[in-house]
Symmetry: C2
Subunit: 349 residues, 2 copies
């Protein structure tokens, strides 16, 4: 135990008023080390031709002052290379985009690059403003999950040396690298399997056809049904935004006179609602979903998903972007990430 002596119990290492000291610059370091600013720059950047003992003096000064190179000034002067890329997604908190962000961050980190993330919130105007802002910050490249339909405004930026790679959805009005999921093929394969299992009436549940992925998946599903002569647009339900709506739509369809024996949910929010309703009713309708997700295997109803690897999607796009940043000027590429049919959910009863 230490006896607190009045006023002296604690060494006052904390200056009570946070003294907003100015950041030291190379000028300060140079003065302390007795060299020129340029020499400091050379030492800080590991440039050759500095006498070891001079370098030591400089490093000592750097340490004493707590100098950190100003990255802004550095990249302003040296032209490009802010070692930053911009990622534009719909919404960070959404697990799909979070996975994308994680994979992109990983690739970025492999290239000693930082990640500036912006959320468009599905708003094309906001998307445009954010992309412009990212360019104004001189990012070395852009990764974009498009919200809008028209990206012509990016053309001049791309021509001026900020490469852009689009992922999950195609760019509009701009020749650019694109990395997409095989939405159409995956939906086709899944629905064909339902047909082969003997299903003749397949309810299709989707959000808006204003969304590219929905259009593609719907097209794939229709193709597969049409190929078997089973196309029936009365079984398609649009505008499903959340699990609750999905559940009630599934209920409505099951209550009709000649109900579907199978459902195709075009995204995982819809799958979730469908699982809930089918489980509640003890139904034995087949369920096919698009998009896998973390806990799908623990849900209380067996279903098949058209799965794909979101990380591969994102890594592929990011790696392509870095090739562009490093100077690859070849023609824009369109890459397709394959899908796979996977069984999920817990067996019935």
């Amino acid at each position: 135990m230490i006896h607190p002596s009045p006023g002296g119990g604690k060494v006052s290492q904390v200056t009570s008023a946070p003294s907003r000291t100015k950041r030291p610059t190379m000028v300060d370091v140079a003065a302390l080390a007795g060299v020129s600013v340029k020499t400091v720059s050379r030492v800080v950047n590991n440039a050759p031709y500095v006498q070891p003992e001079v370098a030591q003096r400089v490093l000592a000064a750097v340490a004493e002052l707590g100098f950190r190179r100003n990255h802004l000034a550095s990249s302003l002067r040296s032209g490009q290379a802010t070692a930053t890329i911009g990622l534009l997604i719909e919404e960070i908190a959404n697990p799909f985009y979070a996975t994308i962000a994680g994979a992109v961050a990983e690739v970025a980190s492999e290239h000693d690059t930082m990640l500036l993330i912006a959320s468009s919130e599905e708003n094309p105007a906001r998307e445009q403003q954010l992309l412009r802002d990212l360019c104004a910050r001189q990012v070395d490249g852009l990764l974009v999950v498009p919200a809008g339909e028209d990206h012509a405004f990016l053309r001049s930026e791309v021509e001026r040396g900020t490469p852009a790679v689009f992922l999950d959805r195609p760019a509009g009005g701009l020749p650019a690298d694109t990395v997409l999921i095989d939405n159409r093929g995956g939906a086709h394969a899944g629905v064909r399997q339902l047909v082969e299992l003997g299903h003749r009436r397949v309810g299709i549940l989707l959000d808006s056809t204003a969304i590219y992925t929905m259009r593609e998946r719907l097209a794939g599903a229709r193709d597969a049904l049409a190929a078997a002569g089973l196309a029936d647009d009365r079984l398609i339900r649009y505008g499903i935004r959340d699990p609750e709506t999905a559940a009630s739509v599934v209920g409505d369809l099951l209550d009709e006179p000649d109900p579907p024996t199978a459902f195709f949910a075009l995204n995982n929010r819809i799958s979730l609602g469908a699982v809930e309703e089918l489980h509640r009713r003890g139904s034995d309708a087949a369920l096919l979903g698009f998009d896998d997700f973390d806990l799908s295997r623990l849900l209380p109803y067996p279903f098949t998903v058209v799965a794909y690897d979101t990380r591969t999607l994102a890594r592929t796009a990011a790696e392509l972007l870095f090739r562009r940043i490093k100077g690859d000027r070849s023609a824009p590429r369109d890459l397709l990430i394959p899908t796979e049919l996977v069984n999920r959910g817990l067996p019935r009863h």
Copy 2:
């Protein structure tokens, strides 16, 4: 069907060589508009005292050249205000951190600020390097979910005007704003409820006590058990990293001669494994988890979680940070986000 005519099937709107034009600067705009650079600056920044017709000319030149102000140069010259904050988390793809990132991005957007995100991957050395890098990029402030135990190295940065707010875990060796979950209180309340329900043997499942949140939750649980005279350290299992391990540990405990009648899983990865095993065995042991998660209500086993609002945690921290950025120099604050007991999972059978 389109007959491909040799070499002419497509209008060549794509300049084969993407001509890396230089970005126009205020100098270019000034020359085109026939004014000084400073006047361009004034127009671009909506400064007063520019004749409307001159402003028009400048804006026309801006539009014609596709000029965008260089944000780097701007914030270099004008001192601070990069309109960027840094967020350091463990791993972006993890839903917990994704939720944090989303909420932070939201608050940042309300302040017209962009978000630079970095992942420490639980590595203190990497954390330190990333935080330094963020400072070098002159961010206006830092939000940190600490990985390491010592953040004294940040002291000089904070004193030099980069405020930092820590969340979810406390900072080490640095007086700083901190926003934490009420881990201890939540665990205490949950376990007390188990005791009140008549449970006398509670298995406690956790990851490493090297993790702050684990220590706190464990302490809360022990307190509650001790208060009822039920403390029994033989029922505590450490080092559980993933659902699979959790499941097997639960199995082991249930196979012992005098098995627990209740389990407390200290995070949601562990809860998940416990749910799986309890469901598989058709057990009727009570389960208490810490951390709510999206699909918890659909899991096939009833359990109670100590829940909290991650978004509130993150928003609180972000708002505090922006108050600091705006100049609030009051003493560092410690805020506690409350928890709540919530029933989850589907009823047995």
